[in-house]
């Protein structure tokens, strides 16, 4: 495997074609292959079952063509033993296979595909190169249908009773993408039971899909599908919301398949001796959401329960953190410090540039004439060396480049290859290894920008590649060695908000050995959890909460500040100074990181007679009554829960996520108190997502009445002769209904604090709903855009207690990754002020989003601007806005950019010999000096 350079020759010559499982068998691959283009490590492997040599004993074509002798037919599976202190299982799930018990005609028509197959159809790297066509005849479809809950919320043979949680949102996404991919207007319809877009911002997405993209949503029951092989259409037979049979034909039917647990995972759980539930998901409790039944073994991702990417990423951080607590004493004990050669001082040296042009196998060289680019590069000014590489990023090439740099005494390097986004760091390390500053380097992206997008115009692609290389070489010649500012990280944390999330975050930090401040504005810890009765799994919240509070109170590493407000914040990642007012007294806390867990509250509705009639209450108020064992509840004859009070409305267009489950759980509780009680739940879509579906099923069997009311028509609560009555329209009966009730519970929405002052203090953003924004919804779900600030709990989005807890653990863990470094290197490409030119106008100070510029307070340049290198993100706003031209961005200075532009302007001529161009550069200097008096 070390020898393989992924040149692709083996696959090119391999005579055996096999269905490509990565393309869901829609396309073909060879018997020697990489699973997908972005595979890490990028190495070819032999599919033993299909290899002609391994099955028949002859062929060996791949070994013949392999230039590095990397083919080893004798390779065998090996057993490796590792001694570890913790184990994290993240083995995930697999998609439901609709072919096994084929009720939807999946195996009968090519045009009935699973949602994963449809993803491949849409992908530009997929079997149809991103052209949206029907698999049967490659014609562009006019109509596509999605069928939801395939294999989920279904107790039939082979299906699963739970909700897979992710399919509604992905179906909306696929429908939107399909519309964008389609040349002609495309009709899309999603056939569903309930639309469950309960994740953060998912409801907005659903609204956009429906209102802006025009996706049709059809609440229905599918009876059967009839494919027509002649037309390629499939006729969907279904019963609509009102119980009427309908038929509609579609070009493609996408089965929104659910998530399920594979045999291998079950086997693994058996070996690990961890307990699974009746669906084979790993059993966890709500207060320790990543802990399995076996100590030291942690779980994250969809093997714990069906979940989306953000939740999985959050859980993975949480699991890593929990595993880390056990291993705290061993921190840094297995790390090896890399030996870095001393940096060569290149000051005063003329540029000696090395240009390495990558073929990327056939990825670049298949389109771009790489040798021609190399030839052109050789003639550029200051270029001492230029060559092509098969794969510039492979380890052996890295080593080779290191040697060339040393041998040729290169002091600048250009790599013309792929995107710096993924590979810049790697190549910079190569420079470091060769003993030169890593900023003496730049990349030309001749893959994405040339061979990919101009795949059909090789000449133009080559010309553009030459232009890019010439430009970047002109720029690199002007690069300078940069130093990275180092920042000491204060080894303590601040957690703002003492609710469940805050408590868990503080405890996690302390358990990892860090001194932590926990701030709460109220007089007691616990937040909203003080009002909650039970989790959906039936665990008693008050018991757990008091244990948690006690654990932080007793923790010597945690300082709890009650009745405390934040007045001001100075500093930045690693060195925050937060000024607080504690019972009115001022105090300043120093800390390296900040976790924001300020929570949210329950909406006090101004409708449905709330506040006017005692019999109308919110969900939390009912919880409180249950906690208090209120006797009156038992004597209630009829109770009605009204869902989505204040949520999913134009003013507050998000879903509050927890209320459906909470209402079902409390309905069941009421029913258990008084089995004769009539309990109704009036809803828009029931959203007991994931395994919570069981609770929903249970509630229905217990006789709780679920009625979908028409949201577009009014729902009214009134008092008639002392009796509460609810008037609404039933969507399936299409009638006006009236329920007389003794108790009305409003599933009121979760509301964040809009215009939270922490937004300005820590420079973090709130979304339109008032929830704090994470740096990236999927990749960085607990980080804020501001370094060193993390998020968890309801302040981030509505979520149940188990998710709050895992997010709190994740936030603390992400914070620990920073704290554990003790110091950090900041990027060297930052702004600096030429104070001779600074006019002190202050535009930079006012425009910087990170407060990096300020005025020098003493010395020769008093009053001139200076930039704190640690705060600067190198965004360039100050550079662009400085009228005096006093601010420069290291690595992107004006003359560097100009050099690039002028290089673009130069029309390539083979005779642009280097010596003469050097003269030209020399003359420019002369020109600058020519401003002499006469």
């Amino acid at each position: 495997m070390d020898k393989c350079i992924a040149c692709g020759l083996c696959a090119e010559k391999c005579p055996k074609k096999v269905d490509d499982e990565y393309d869901e068998a829609l396309g073909k691959r060879k018997a020697i292959y990489v699973k997908y283009a972005q595979a890490v490590p990028l190495k070819y492997s032999i599919d033993a079952k299909n290899c002609i040599f391994l099955t028949m004993g002859k062929c060996g074509k791949c070994a013949e063509v392999c230039p590095t002798d990397a083919i080893n037919y004798e390779d065998q599976q090996k057993e490796i033993t590792l001694n570890v202190g913790s184990v994290i299982i993240s083995s995930g799930c697999k998609p439901y296979d609709p072919g096994e018990h084929d009720v939807y005609g999946y195996t009968k028509s090519k045009n009935i595909v699973t949602s994963l197959e449809f993803e491949r159809i849409l992908s530009s790297a997929g079997p149809y190169e991103g052209h949206l066509v029907r698999p049967s005849d490659k014609k562009e479809p006019k109509k596509i249908a999605w069928l939801q809950c395939i294999g989920s919320r279904d107790n039939h043979l082979g299906s699963n009773g739970y909700c897979s949680s992710v399919c509604c949102t992905y179906a909306v996404k696929e429908a939107m993408l399909a519309k964008e991919h389609s040349h002609d207007p495309l009709d899309t319809a999603i056939f569903y039971m309930d639309i469950r877009t309960h994740g953060k911002d998912y409801e907005h997405f659903y609204n956009r899909g429906r209102d802006e993209s025009g996706i049709r949503f059809v609440k229905s029951k599918i009876t059967h599908i009839v494919p027509d092989s002649e037309t390629g259409l499939q006729l969907i037979n279904y019963i609509d919301e009102t119980g009427i049979r309908q038929k509609e034909a579609f070009d493609i039917v996408v089965l929104s398949v659910g998530l399920c647990i594979g045999e291998e995972a079950i086997e693994l759980a058996g070996k690990m001796d961890i307990s699974l539930d009746h669906y084979n998901f790993v059993t966890t409790n709500s207060f320790e959401p990543v802990k399995t039944s076996k100590p030291g073994v942690f779980i994250c991702g969809a093997f714990e329960a069906p979940k989306d990417i953000p939740s999985s990423v959050i859980e993975s951080s949480a699991a890593a953190g929990m595993a880390g607590i056990n291993l705290m004493d061993a921190r840094w004990s297995l790390t090896k410090t890399k030996e870095i050669p001393e940096e060569i001082n290149i000051t005063g040296e003329a540029p000696r540039i090395g240009v390495f042009v990558c073929r990327c196998g056939t990825n670049i060289a298949g389109v771009v004439d790489v040798p021609a680019v190399v030839e052109m590069a050789k003639k550029l000014p200051y270029v001492e060396f230029a060559q092509e590489n098969m794969f510039s990023c492979s380890q052996d090439t890295q080593d080779a480049i290191t040697n060339i740099i040393k041998e040729k005494q290169l002091n600048r390097v250009v790599i013309a290859a792929c995107t710096p986004k993924t590979h810049e760091g790697l190549f910079q390390e190569t420079l470091t290894n060769a003993g030169i500053n890593k900023y003496l380097f730049d990349m030309a992206n001749i893959r994405n920008q040339c061979s990919w997008i101009h795949a059909k115009e090789p000449e133009k692609a080559t010309q553009k590649a030459k232009d890019l290389v010439r430009m970047i070489t002109a720029k690199v010649a002007l690069h300078e060695s940069l130093t990275e500012p180092t920042l000491e990280i204060d080894q303590s944390g601040l957690v703002i908000g003492g609710g469940v999330a805050g408590i868990v975050a503080a405890k996690t930090l302390a358990d990892q050995g860090y001194h932590t401040h926990l701030i709460e504005k109220e007089a007691t810890l616990g937040g909203q959890a003080n009002n909650l009765y039970q989790t959906w799994q039936g665990e008693d919240i008050q018991t757990h909460l008091s244990a948690m509070i006690k654990s932080v109170e007793e923790d010597k590493l945690i300082d709890i500040h009650l009745n405390t407000e934040i007045t001001d914040v100075d500093g930045f990642v690693g060195n925050f100074e937060t000024h607080i007012s504690k019972n009115g007294a001022a105090e300043t806390l120093k800390h390296g990181i900040t976790i924001i867990s300020t929570g949210a509250s329950e909406l006090k509705p101004e409708m449905h007679l709330y506040g006017e009639d005692d019999r109308v209450m919110t969900g939390l108020e009912l919880d409180q009554k249950i906690i208090n064992n209120d006797e009156e509840l038992k004597s209630t004859n009829t109770a009605v829960f009204i869902q989505c009070v204040g949520s999913r409305i134009p003013e507050r267009p998000y879903c509050s996520k927890v209320c459906c489950t909470q209402s079902i759980r409390n309905a069941l509780k009421l029913k258990s108190m008084n089995p004769a009680m009539n309990v109704f739940i009036l809803y828009r879509d029931m959203r007991p997502f994931g395994l919570r579906e069981d609770l929903y099923t249970q509630a229905r069997t217990k006789g709780i009445q679920f009625i979908k009311f028409d949201f577009e028509k009014d729902l009214k609560v009134a008092v008639n002769e002392g009796q509460l009555q609810i008037l609404f329209s039933d969507t399936s009966l299409r009638r006006k209904m009236e329920i007389k009730s003794d108790l009305i519970v409003l599933a009121s929405s979760i509301i964040p604090e809009k215009k939270n002052k922490l937004t300005a203090l820590y420079k973090i953003a709130q979304n339109a709903d008032g929830f704090f924004m994470e740096a990236h919804a999927k990749l960085k779900p607990v980080d804020c855009a501001t370094d060193g600030v993390f998020l968890c709990g309801l302040a981030h989005a509505p979520k149940p207690i188990d998710e709050s807890i895992s997010q709190a653990m994740a936030a603390a863990t992400r914070a620990v990754t920073l704290l554990a470094k003790k110091k950090m290197n900041m990027d060297g490409t930052i702004a600096w002020v030429d104070q001779e030119k600074c006019s002190s106008c202050g535009v930079c100070v006012s425009i910087c989003p990170f407060s990096a510029p300020s005025f020098t307070t003493e010395g020769r340049y008093e009053g001139k601007a200076e930039i704190n290198p640690v705060l600067c993100k190198g965004c360039g706003l100050c550079v662009a806005s400085c009228r005096s031209g006093a601010i420069h961005l290291k690595g992107f200075d004006t003359h560097q950019i100009f050099a690039q532009i002028f290089a673009l302007d130069e029309i390539e001529s083979g005779d642009a010999g280097q010596t003469d161009d050097k003269n030209e550069t020399g003359k420019k200097d002369e020109k600058n000096a020519a401003t002499a008096a006469v």
């Binding site: 001779e836 002190s840 009228r883």
Partner: protein, 315 residues
């Protein structure tokens, strides 16, 4: 205007006597007709040279840049607006200043006046509303309002916006119906017409940079036209370079220009440099509701970013 002069001398002498300021900046009588020269008085005797008349056109805020002393300044409406801008842009501190505000009735345009005569002007005198001009062979009375500087004609901030003392009661501000009719004329031109308009406007420019140097906003230690690394603009008389200078200078003044007219006043070649800045002033007012130098509380709109900045121009 004599009463203004008397009052200015009196206030200045007192300030200097009481050592409230290190010196005072004002105007003294020029050596030629229709000229007033910026004057610095360090003693109460020197303060006796202060005058005020219809020729105090130069913007005195220009003399405050990066001063460290405690300064008294005689300032009309536009000067005060530039003092505000100076304070915002850290060119001077409010505490350093004692502002003697002059409610202004507009200044006269010396070129407008001289264009009324075939001969050179040899004498000038004024009363409140009328100016008297002498040439070698002629003498004429002219109504002041007929020869006002064009920026004074559309000025709506004649009174000082910031001051410590006033030399007279505030004057009534002009009600201008159409402040930007000149700009609109240019806006209505086709691209080629505009090009020709500016071509014609700049044909005599000698790049002395008097417009820049007279402008209180142009205080950069190194102006972009003087920069040699990189050299943004060629230094010769190439029309492209001349245009580049004027356009860039105007953009540097966007949202900051008070239309004081110092640039036009300083231009030896009679170029209406305001044609460049006026359009940006109009846009600032129409897009951001902003006129420069009226408040110490806020930076000019183009210096900052707020999420509710208008962005209709972005498609």
């Amino acid at each position: 205007m004599d009463s203004y002069t008397t009052k200015i001398r009196e206030l200045s002498a007192n300030l200097l006597k009481d050592e409230k300021v290190d010196f005072i900046i004002g105007f003294k009588q020029g050596t030629i007709p229709m000229a007033a020269s910026p004057h610095i008085a360090k003693t109460s005797e020197q303060a006796e040279q202060f005058i005020w008349d219809n020729n105090c056109r130069i913007n005195l805020a220009n003399y405050l840049t990066s001063r460290k002393e405690k300064i008294g300044i005689i300032a009309k409406g536009c000067d005060c607006r530039n003092i505000v801008t100076h304070i915002i842009e850290n060119k001077i501190k409010r505490e350093q200043l004692h502002i003697i505000g002059v409610p202004c009735n507009g200044m006269i345009d010396k070129i407008k006046v001289s264009s009324l005569f075939d001969e050179e002007i040899t004498g000038y005198s004024e009363t409140d509303e009328v100016i008297t001009i002498k040439t070698l062979s002629d003498e004429k009375n002219i109504n002041k309002t007929e020869v006002l500087k064009s920026n004074c004609m559309t000025c709506t901030h004649r009174n000082p916006v910031i001051y410590d003392e006033l030399v007279a009661d505030l004057v009534e501000e002009q009600q201008i119906e159409d402040q930007f009719s000149d700009v609109r004329l240019i806006e209505e031109m086709t691209a080629d017409e505009k090009w020709n308009h500016f071509d014609n406007l700049l044909k005599n420019c000698i790049r002395c940079y008097a417009c820049r140097n007279a402008c209180p906003l142009c205080y950069c230690p190194t102006c972009f036209v003087d920069e040699s690394g990189p050299q943004w603009v060629g230094k010769g008389q190439d029309p492209t370079d001349i245009r580049t200078f004027h356009y860039l200078r105007a953009y540097h003044c966007a949202g900051r220009c008070t239309d004081c007219g110092a640039c036009v006043e300083a231009c030896p070649m009679d170029i209406n440099v305001r044609d460049f800045t006026r359009k940006l002033n109009k846009d600032s007012l129409e897009i951001y509701g902003w006129e420069a130098g009226l408040t110490l509380e806020q930076r000019p709109p183009l210096d900052t970013f707020t999420p509710d900045d208008p962005n209709d121009f972005i498609k």
